[in-house]
Symmetry: C2
Subunit: 235 residues, 2 copies
Amino acid sequence: MQSSPLLKPVLDDAPQSEQAYRRIKQAILSREMPVGFQSLEPALALRLGMSRTPVHEALVRLQDEGYIDLQPRRGMRVVALSLRDIREITELLACLEVEAAQQTAARRLSTEDIAVFDDAIAAMDRALEASDIDAWNEADYRFHLLLIDACGNRHLIDTARRFLEKANRFRYLTSAYRKPPVYSNVNHAAVVEAIRRGDPQSAVEIHRAHKRRWLAELDEILMRIGDDRAAPDAP
Amino acid sequence: MQSSPLLKPVLDDAPQSEQAYRRIKQAILSREMPVGFQSLEPALALRLGMSRTPVHEALVRLQDEGYIDLQPRRGMRVVALSLRDIREITELLACLEVEAAQQTAARRLSTEDIAVFDDAIAAMDRALEASDIDAWNEADYRFHLLLIDACGNRHLIDTARRFLEKANRFRYLTSAYRKPPVYSNVNHAAVVEAIRRGDPQSAVEIHRAHKRRWLAELDEILMRIGDDRAAPDAP
DNA sequence: CGCGATTATAATGCATGCATTAAATAGATT
DNA sequence: AATCTATTTAATGCATGCATTATAATCGCG
């Protein structure tokens, strides 16, 4: 019998509280613990094979990051991302990424660094060609992570990473509704081109315009999702 | 004898770990625990009048936020903010506030909401008139908090608040070096005016230009600080 | 007297114990 | 039978205990 990720044996030597933190967060991101999932500390401790202390510590941290809600006697509860949350996170991430694109372009990356971006975009193109949504999502995620990491501002990196990770909670949702992301590939390539040229102004404009379009499409998607949620059995 | 903030008796009924978190963070922000300050868990627990468990939890959270460094057997250590950190945080905060200003202007605030901004600006003007740096800092902080809170994006609010709070760690430093912030008052008033008109475009331009100037001035200040640090006893 | 090895000390991470308290269940009264 | 109360159960937050391990101190040896 196959163990669930939550029960996956400890591989590295990180402290237990850190293990608990990572594994529970992973379980939330993978929807093994779906929205609304509840559990009490003793049950979690049992599943994770440790005592309540490190679990409790992990839960407090996850609450700090907004993944769960902790109520005195109801244990943890995976919080729902409202349509508003999705909108807000996307908007914030857009703002952070535009800033990152600007700073990255201003930094003038090396040829090797740029090659990694090209790789990610090539992977996105291949995935789009093959209509492989999962592969596209993975490559797109990789691209955004690269863009963020390349900016050089560690505080921006930490913050944007945190929200990019959180955005993975609803990526599956939006990607199920959105049309094939041809524009994303084109725009990302254009941003990389601006970075290659060391042209922050263009990088900002391209990425901002792209994000603006994406936000408009997202609003449509969210409206449809809202309708579906309101009347899921409508003909 | 007067008790230090760290020893200030517990007033509200928040859990002890939360008390520990707040009091230690406050001690760091107020420089009661200055950069480099070290302490072991048992000592902290004693000072805070609780056991090690809630203290440990608080320390992990503070490490998450980058306030302290936790080393296995050296306890907590208040991390230094490098000139680079100051630069990065200011840059990130600028980016977040420009976004907040835009969204706030797009939201069209009520007259009462705008009045609160006017109050803060009036306080800044009075403080500048009286050359009262502390009062100006307080009012300026209030203004930025208002701007952030008014934007309506809760994720942006949480994030910007976190960094605004962190920026208080070096506010005293930069305010000791900077020239009288006349432009700040004027620009903030102009941003409020744009918000009043419901003109996001202007709000962005004004605030962005202001932040750009401030970053340029900051760079000068940081250079001087860097020089001072390199040769503190120079004639 | 100095330096390396060994022992002692103590800080940490986690387990467990305990008091508190909220939810559930059983019981009593109308 | 229904509702209010009393009792039980158990989850949480914190205190304490314990094993581990790193640092410090002591001791032995050159």
